[in-house]
Amino acid sequence: MIALQEILHSTQQILPEWLLAIGILALVLVISFGKPESKLPYGLSFILILTYTLSVTFFYSDLANKSISLYSGMLILDKTSIFFKQLLGISAIIFMVHSRLFRYKFEGEIYFLILCVILGLSFLSMTTHFLVIYIAVELASISSYILVASKKQKTNFEAAIKYLIFGAASSAIMLYGISFFYGISHTLNFTDPIFLKFTNTNSPLIIQVLSFMFLGGLFFKIAAAPFHSWVPDVYEVTTTPIISFLSFAPKAIGVLVVARVAQANFADINPVLLLIIFLSLIFGNLAALWQTNLKRMLGYSGIAQAGFILIGLLKGPQSDFYGAFFYILTYLPITMGAFFLADILYKQTGSDELEDYKGLGQKHIFLGINAVIIMMALIGLPPTIGFMAKLMVFSSIINLGDALGSSVYYGLLIFGLLNAAISIYYYLKVPYIMLIKTAYKQPKYAPNYLLSIVLTYFSLSLLIFFFFPDFGTEWIKAVLF
């Protein structure tokens, strides 16, 4: 009877997810029985996403500093998970607005899949249970594979298959790692004291290798090297609003889970992270230098940015992942703004190739200025919020090097900063081509002022949060573990 009560109680606590799940079922019905051209799926999904965002915000207002364990430890609900769910909701809202503004005529299934990704990531954000992690990652991943293929062109199928194969391989490695963990400890929850007891009695090297295998599945979602091979193709061919959403949401939640693993402290994952950071920065940045396609370049940039975010997850005696969470918060407007810009450029030229943007910024100076601001934020130059994010992450390394007394961290600091300096080459290429090169052909379409205004909102927010970062920092401070 106690178990039943527990289940009932837990079920009440995850109301937002229940609403979403029921809504998804309703959406399936609407899609199946509605007219093909109907706008109902869009409206229903928008309502669902809004409901989800509002309910995670207001439903838990009395949670305070507690961390509630649900379904006998399968899920844990704390303020950190709520923060990430809010980010998830906001990015989904931006996706909906984005696709509406550009008049994408998505079939209902796309919204269904997006909602499935949200549901999966939402569960992923509140668990320390291996099995739930696996299921949630799979729910989000499988939906993403189909989303990538949804444009139904040859290149999309190719990218989706690549995505699927790498995803399946990463999941298999992850599952393999999990099975070892289960074999060692006979428990599936990595915050469980029993689990810690068993991991502590084993050789640290074995635990580190197992952690690497387990984390592989998450690094795949974060798009960190060496689990990154799918990124460029997928980013290049997927419909822009979809990839805009997928470039942020899985990355954010993946980082949260890695943070939970680091927090649980059952293994010293710093060496693993250092390797991943090093590879991500070098692969992402060097490959991005040669790109001629804007979306592909943003893909490589996403790999490099993952490296920067992971720097904030390195664990020291006092660390609290403040830098990483702050970076994630700022990454939301930066990356989604960049894809919004990419879509506007596509709309005007009908191409994603950088060369085709020649002179576009001269024609529409505000488009050019917006491009400068967004790219500055990606580089991390002041006065944009990207600089603050990099500052936070790098000051966390200085603290770490201070506390652990190891030169490796100072090396990483300089390496990371040099990478930021290299990245200026490819990021600036965008405004450079737009503003400096002379156009040899006229833009196909006239600019749409509504779109430019929305884009200006993105870049203004990047500037304003630089001058008034307190809003963000206070928010993050309240949601740390």
Binding site: Q318, P382, F387, S395, S407, G411, A421, L428, I436, D470
Partner: protein, 523 residues
Amino acid sequence: MQSGLLSSLIILPLIASIIVLLLPAAYKASYRWISLITQILLLINVGTLIGAFDPQKNEYQFLEHYEWIRLTLGNSSILSIDYIIGLDGLSLAMVSLSVLVFFIANISSFSIAKKEKAYFSLFLLLTATVIGCFVAIDFFLFFIFFEFMLLPMYFLIGIWGGPNKAYASLKFIIYTLVGSVMILVVMIALAMSNVDEFFTSEYKTTVFSFDFRILSDTNNLLKGSLLSIQNPIKIFGVNARDFMFLLLFIGFGIKLPMVPFHTWLPDAHVEAPTPISVVLAGILLKIGGYGLIRIAYGFFPDVATNYSLLISIMGLISILYGGFNALAQKDLKKLIAYSSISHMGFVLIGIAAFNVEGFNGAIFQMFSHGLLSSMLFLVAGVLYERTHNREIANFKGLAKNMPLFTVMVAIAFFGSLGLPSLSGFIGEFFTLFGSFQSSKIPKVIPVLGVLGIVLSAVYLLWTFQKMFFGEFWTKEEFKKSLTDLDQKEIFMLSTLGALTLLFGIFPNLLFDLINPTVIHLFK
């Protein structure tokens, strides 16, 4: 006293920049005038500041202090970032130089005939950031201006530059950005080690500060922190403080520029339009020297003395390498660019001497080089505007055709090669004098440094002789266009020439301003 006069130096050009940006293209002709009026207002404001400045006070004057950002870090310590600006003798000298050179460059910009709106708004933005860089007393604020300066500069070279502008502008921005990330490392490390005592007791939690006045006092270092003097932490086997100092040295050395980090400069100069070359040589290079004095030496005085030898050798290499390279140049602008490298080498030697004479000399050399190099680039611009050619070999006997021009070039060249009674002499004399006095560097370095003056005499006089003396000869197509200076050019060159002469004869005009500050630095 928060009069806002100092802030106006930053805000006025910013506002003007926005006005230019928002004005419709129908008012195209007014952009340059808006910009010029702004520069004149800045000149007036700086004049007022010089009048009200009291050199004997050993503190920053005209202070304006507003709280800006209180970043609460994870472990509930606070990063306090403030908007603090103020002036001491050193920054006042640099600010006066900046407004002067920007004023001249603005007049020179009147000949820009392409995308005026973008040009003048970027130019005004550059003005604001450069001045902001010199008046900031908060490291964070300084760094923002320092970084933000790159973008307008990048576009100014990239859009209005010569044929190879893409390469030059990118090289410029990557070099300087690498330098500035090194400075960023030090900035973070310094801020995480220096505690603001007052606010720490106020907020009851550790408050880290970026305030120059706190950073320059080693008593504020947190015990056991990265940069504490007592128990040094090793980074790659080097003491953290030494490591940070060297990072700063390289970071500002790139900006200065110091051999072997100088290769961006000739490229940038050759491609940049004349007014931007003037700004680049006249002011931007000085930020490197200013940063070395204010930040590298100001915050790490204990380690700086250990590196005097290294710095002076780097200075010597810059002098000689720049000089010999200048000898070999066929392009007038490239020659001037290399002579800039050579002359900025004296700044390094003066700083390395680590005594009052050396520092005074270094600052004076920066000021004088600001005037002279602006003049030299204007001279190159005069020829380029008329003929679109800068090959030294293409011109001969210009004195016959362009007597006024010849006079101006003579002043600029003789000033640069260190003729007494012109300002170049004083700067070089004091830096060498300081390094002879100094116990920290061997005498052989200033002795060899003197060779640099000889070298500059060789390449400048040689060029002068080749281009201006003898029978008038040039390519047929240039002959018609080679007319003497117009009024605008006479005004620009004679203003700079007169100032060179003034500071050459009365160097105390500047020394009175900077000497108390320098003496205070050594206390």
